[in-house]
């Protein structure tokens, strides 16, 4: 058990950069997946700028009346 933990610690020490990169990769993949899911499946409020928040217009909550 102790040996196993030690080996794991050794692996972490040797591959700390790779582990961080993998974690960043997972976070980015989750974010990307979520954005894709949101784009296709979440009914968002597209009444203003189609939900685009790239410029100042969408900074405040907007409301559309049909």
């Amino acid at each position: 058990m102790f040996k196993g933990l030690l080996a794991l610690w050794g692996f972490i020490q040797a591959n700390v950069q790779l582990i961080i990169v993998v974690l960043i990769g997972i976070a980015v993949a989750v974010k990307l997946g979520y954005e894709i899911y949101r784009f296709f499946f979440v009914k968002k409020d597209t009444s203003y700028c189609n939900g685009c928040s790239m410029c100042e217009i969408s900074k405040i909550k907007k409301k559309k009346i049909s």
């Binding site: 961080i20 980015v28 009444s47 189609n50 939900g51 790239m54 410029c55 100042e56």
Partner: protein, 802 residues
């Protein structure tokens, strides 16, 4: 005689407005009513449109539209028209008195807006003419940074902002500018529906003091709707400076509505305005709003209509009976549809037709004109006692207009200004850009020398610093470009640009108003597409929407700056101008094609107000620039960072042990991104693009700045030092040692970036505004196909030439 024949500098009086539909209605609303004095100010450089002065403000009309207005140089011709004159005299008298008989009705009506006094949230809607300063007031009062401009049509939807005043929370709703509440244009319908369906607690009617008579037209319509209202007399400083005298307390007493003078751009009068809003909400304002008297003939018609509708339940329509009758008599299509479901609707229509015929017979004009005349008659009467105008109110505007819209120097000034804008963007931006570049390089070198080798180090240097750093260096250029755009918008020059360009727009089959969305497109294509809503004609709207993506948005600017600066040296400013002009040219050709093959039909009228020039405030320009810088940084920290990391991952993995670590380029070629690039390379090869350029263009579909960040990652090179992306691009070679970026490839690449669709958000905006994926897909295919074709022709013809 027709208005188009009126010589420049001459005055005449309006006799009749011919034509029909929305155009005629718009003319009536803007003050082209019988008896009104109109003066021809000047012709646009291409002789069309013509600028006229009416009711103290300036408006431009095309020659072909001015021909529909009948005029006389003699005032006697107008006065000799007895039936109308009698009505008008009656209106002038009644307007100067309070009208007590309406009070009972008004009180009853107010029940609709009754609120729970324990709730201290006030919903206030800002309603007013375009360019009356609603958004400025909204920004100042609510602390928001909404986009404002010295031209109409900047607001195309409603925005909500909250503010706190004297223990009350006021929810301000900024509605699009509108001249009236009829149902001809999308904004008019939008505002009216908002007032009917949402029922705000208080309506703040923003009235521009620089064009009182025309602005009060909308006030009369709001009075007809019997909404609880407070008037914000905006731009009051301009009125005072002009030397005109306005006894607004007297007008307030006369019409029974509180009037508060404000200067929205400086925040003057806003606390007082909010005090009045609270008073109105709490019912402390004891004044009863007046009812607009329409004269004997129209009042009789309204009364008979009211009788017809008396026993019909119209409570579900949420409209006052009198307003409903007026709109029915005016021939409002939407109201007519509303009564379609009522019992007795045939009888109501029959009565309406009978009354319209009666008005026609007695007043010798149709009901629509009669009501517009009556409203302006009431306004004239009300202002007669309270307002003393001073002639030549906008002398500076006139002098400046004589220069910037001059037939010989108007266009050169326009192009000079454009050139200056791009040259300054490039040249002035170069100095801070070098500073940021140095910072990025230093950060890269610091990590390179202080961190142990490994994937995280590579991610930081090649992925994040290489990708994000390549984009961030263009921040100063973006800010400078926006300084110029803010100046153009806030000063009023944008509207003049539309004025002088109308003839060109007309030749393209577009409306002069299309110029505003197209100009807005230089900032961001998404709001530009949304602002096409202000164009009444669907066909013109669709064409404008489809050509907006050819306007180079600020997201494309970093790509231009990088390549023009790297490969064209001292001619970079000209190349930049050339790219923008090419975009405009492609838009012109496309518009012609769309008009010919896809959207035939009608020609659209050009009625556009030309606001007086105003010196932009330092604060508003700073807000513009700061907002743009903030949004750019936000974009860098969000999608661009994510895209850079993804591209790096795809370029870093899978690791091939047979390739040495130092040979980054070779390694990338065998990575996932290399395989994707190789997959699409056959399509792009005829354009001279290698797989890295192809991948950059593919990733740029999300947002154009990502083209740069992708290149920053892909063209990482094998160098040990952090070098700028420019240097890396210049030294990039094929396997045989020939440069990747030959002049033909660079030109083809820049044109490709210019023409193919700007981003997914723009496509989604086209889908939303056109109401169909069909047009969104068409835009993608058309722009990408055209981009490929143009880049191919450049490469092919260029190779033949060289």
């Amino acid at each position: 005689m027709r208005l188009s024949e009126l010589p420049t500098g001459e005055k005449a009086y309006i006799l009749k407005v011919h034509g029909s539909g929305a155009f005629r209605k718009r003319l009536l609303e803007m003050g082209f009513v019988r008896g009104e004095e109109v003066k021809a100010i000047l012709n646009a450089p291409l002789k069309d449109p013509i600028k006229y002065q009416i009711m103290g403000y300036e408006v431009s009309l095309r020659r072909s539209e001015a021909v529909m207005i009948e005029i006389s140089m003699l005032k006697e011709d107008v006065l000799s028209f007895r039936p109308w004159e009698e009505e008008k005299q009656e209106l002038l008298c009644t307007a100067q008195q309070a009208i007590p008989e309406c009070n009972r009705r008004q009180r009853r009506r107010r029940g609709r807006f009754r609120h729970d006094s324990s709730c201290r949230l006030i919903k206030a809607a800002l309603v007013g003419n375009p360019n009356s300063g609603k958004t400025s007031l909204f920004n100042l009062a609510s602390g928001a940074h909404e986009h404002v401009g010295n031209y109409g049509g900047v607001t195309v939807d409603s925005k909500i902002g909250r503010l706190y005043h004297k223990d009350y929370t006021i929810e301000l709703v900024d509605l699009p500018g509108t001249y009236s509440l009829s149902a001809y244009t999308p904004e008019e319908r939008y505002v009216r529906n908002y007032l009917v369906e949402e029922q705000p607690d208080v309506v703040i009617n923003v009235v521009s003091a620089s064009a009182l008579e025309r602005n009060l037209y909308l006030t009369t319509e709001l009075m007809d709707m019997e909404v609880p209202m407070v008037i914000a007399l905006n731009m009051y400083d301009e009125l005072e400076q002009s030397g005109s005298k306005f006894d607004y307390p007297a007008l307030s007493k006369m019409i029974g509505i509180p009037i508060v003078p404000t200067v929205a751009k400086r925040g003057e009068g806003i606390p007082e305005l909010l005090d009045e809003v609270i008073k109105k909400y709490e019912g402390e304002d004891k004044k009863d709003p007046a009812r607009i008297p329409y004269g004997r003939v129209l009042e009789r018609a309204i009364e008979l209509m009211e009788r017809e509708l008396a026993d019909v339940d119209i409570s579900h329509l949420h409209l006052p009976l009198r307003y409903l009758c007026i709109k029915l008599l005016e021939g409002d299509k939407e109201i007519e549809e509303m009564i379609g479901g009522l019992p007795k609707c045939d009888a109501i229509r029959a009565r309406r037709d009978k009354e319209r015929a009666y008005i026609d017979k007695l007043l010798r004009e149709d009901a629509e004109s009669a009501f517009a005349n009556a409203r302006y008659g009431f306004i004239e009467g009300a202002l007669k006692e309270t307002f003393t105008p001073k002639a030549n109110i906008h002398d500076t505007t006139r002098i400046l207009d004589a220069i910037v819209t001059n037939k010989y120097i108007g266009f050169p000034i326009f192009f000079l200004f454009m050139w200056l804008m791009f040259e300054a963007t490039f040249r002035l931006g170069e100095y801070p850009m070098q500073g940021i570049e140095w910072l990025v390089g230093t950060a890269g070198n610091f990590i390179r020398s202080h961190m142990a080798d490994g994937p995280l180090k590579d991610l930081l240097i090649e992925g994040i610093i290489g990708g994000v750093g390549g984009v961030i260096v263009f921040l100063p250029n973006i800010v400078i470009l926006y300084l110029f755009i803010a100046f153009m918008e806030d000063s009023g020059y944008m509207a003049r640009a539309a004025f002088i360009m109308d003839k060109v727009m007309h030749k393209m089959g577009l409306h002069g108003k299309s110029f505003i969305p197209l100009l807005m497109g230089f900032g961001c294509n998404v709001p530009a597409i949304l602002s096409t809503r202000t164009i009444e004609s669907r066909n013109s709207r669709m064409i404008t929407m489809l050509i907006v993506p050819f306007m180079s948005c600020s997201a494309r600017l970093p790509v231009y700056l990088l390549f023009a600066g790297t490969f064209f040296g001292r001619y970079a400013g000209l190349v930049l101008l050339g790219l923008y002009m090419t975009g405009i040219l492609i838009a012109v050709v496309s518009a012609r094609l769309f008009r010919r093959f896809l959207f035939k039909e009608e020609d659209t009228p050009f009625v556009m107000e030309l606001p007086p020039y105003r010196l932009p405030t330092f604060k508003s320009v700073m807000i513009h620039m700061w907002d743009r810088a903030y949004q750019y940084l936000k974009k860098i920290g969000g999608p661009i960072l994510i895209a850079s990391i993804i591209i790096w991952f795809l370029g870093y993995f899978p690791k091939n042990p047979s390739i040495p670590e130092q040979r980054v380029a070779e390694h990338q070629e065998h990575s996932y991104i290399g395989q994707i690039g190789k997959c699409i390379e056959p399509v792009m090869r005829p354009l001279g693009f290698d797989w890295k350029i192809s991948v950059s263009l593919l990733s740029g579909m999300a947002a154009k700045e990502i083209v740069i960040s992708t290149m920053g990652v892909l063209y990482a090179g094998d160098s040990e030092n952090q070098t700028s992306l420019q240097e890396r691009l210049l030294t990039e070679t094929h396997a045989d040692g020939t440069p990747v970026f030959t002049p033909l490839v660079v030109i083809g690449f820049l044109l490709f970036v210019l023409i193919y669709f700007p981003c997914i958000a723009t496509i989604a905006a086209i889908k939303e505004e056109s109401g169909s994926w069909k047009w969104a897909l068409f835009s993608v295919l058309y722009s990408t196909g055209l981009a490929w074709m143009v880049a191919f022709l450049v490469h092919w013809i260029g190779n033949l030439w060289i």
